[in-house]
Subunit: 211 residues, 2 copies
């Protein structure tokens, strides 16, 4: 297993003007989200705001859910880059233990930040997307390997840790609209509990980790 | 927190003939499942086989998915009874560690056994059911308390352990039909990895647990 590459799919080569259009559209989507929330983002409103034809928006995203999937995809790539190339302890250069704790913190924050986008990216006629958990599983598997754990089946352990880390927040996405969306503060107990779990799994004493 | 009661909802009081009808219908559903799989269970076929009117079947279950939800519900109750009143180590009378390992093994087997029923119980027009994980979360929370862990937030830890235990198998239920359904053998690595996770979390040495 090549630990430095997380296979989340490479961006397809794209003509320069198509790439510009995509960036322009996503920048507009971000502004609309910040101003009016996910509910304010429609195909028509986006085309008008970006001063592009509706056909262009339709070809790019297909459906309204497709707009949010594209945004989520772009943000997942940025997240992945921080994990692979960013500063430690999230990026390379820290111990496997510290990286695992930092990854959990960062991932919880990412999932909370993207809660409404992930909901809006769900196509109700399609089952929930499965690929979301891939980067977490692959990255945790790599770190478990680096931690020098003397255990026979790190693959399955990585699957279960992915469930521990992402499961509680993915439920927010798949379930009916909660009365109040999760606040960023909801991440704190999850991140602290994740740290405890990882420290015990790696048989380390808590409190040795920065951050 | 009262550790001996898992609030999965009490059966409503039911007239004797209604209860008999329900038992009769569920017994027929089980036979149809065993003979022809979930695909063979329809409202019409069930009414005919049970020699009851279609109206009776409709009033009882509402939809085809409702048949499978009723079956799942009945089996969840049996499972819960084993956990609360059955022999150790699944039931009371063993250490928290042994019970947690045994619960994981039993729950993984249950989820694998009920894979096709759980899929068929999903109403595609409704989000995935949330309550499924409740018994696991409540039971693990109780065992974590009994284990004497000196940790500040056992509630969140129980949520994360529920994700670790059920997440990998719930994905099978929510995702598009896999090419091959999970075999009972798929439970073995999950159960073994769960045992490792629990032993390390409770800072115990593996190999001290029966089964």
């Amino acid at each position: 297993m090549n630990g430095s590459v997380v296979p989340l799919g490479k961006p397809r080569p794209e003509r320069a003007d198509a790439a510009r259009n995509r960036e322009l559209l996503l920048a507009n989507v971000r502004e609309m989200l910040a101003a009016g929330g996910a509910g304010s983002v429609t195909m028509d409103a986006l085309a008008e705001r970006a001063q592009l034809g509706k056909g262009t928006v339709f070809r790019r995203f297909g459906t309204r859910a497709g707009i949010f999937r594209a945004l989520l995809d772009a943000d997942e790539r940025s997240f992945q880059e921080q994990v692979l190339y960013g500063p430690p302890p999230l990026g390379p250069g820290a111990s496997a233990l510290d990286r695992m704790v930092a990854y959990g913190q960062a991932r919880i924050a990412f999932l909370l930040d993207h809660h409404s986008v992930a909901r809006a990216a769900l196509d109700r006629n399609q089952p929930a997307p499965a690929g979301e958990a891939t980067i977490t599983r692959v990255h945790l598997r790599m770190l478990l390997g680096q931690a020098g754990l003397n255990l026979p089946d790190l693959d399955t352990l990585a699957v279960q840790l992915t469930g521990a880390l992402e499961g509680p927040l993915l439920l927010y996405v798949v379930l009916p609209e909660p009365e109040t969306p999760p606040s960023p503060a909801a991440g704190r107990p999850l991140a602290e509990s994740w740290s405890v779990l990882v420290h015990r799994l790696l048989r380390a004493e808590p409190g040795t980790t920065p951050g």
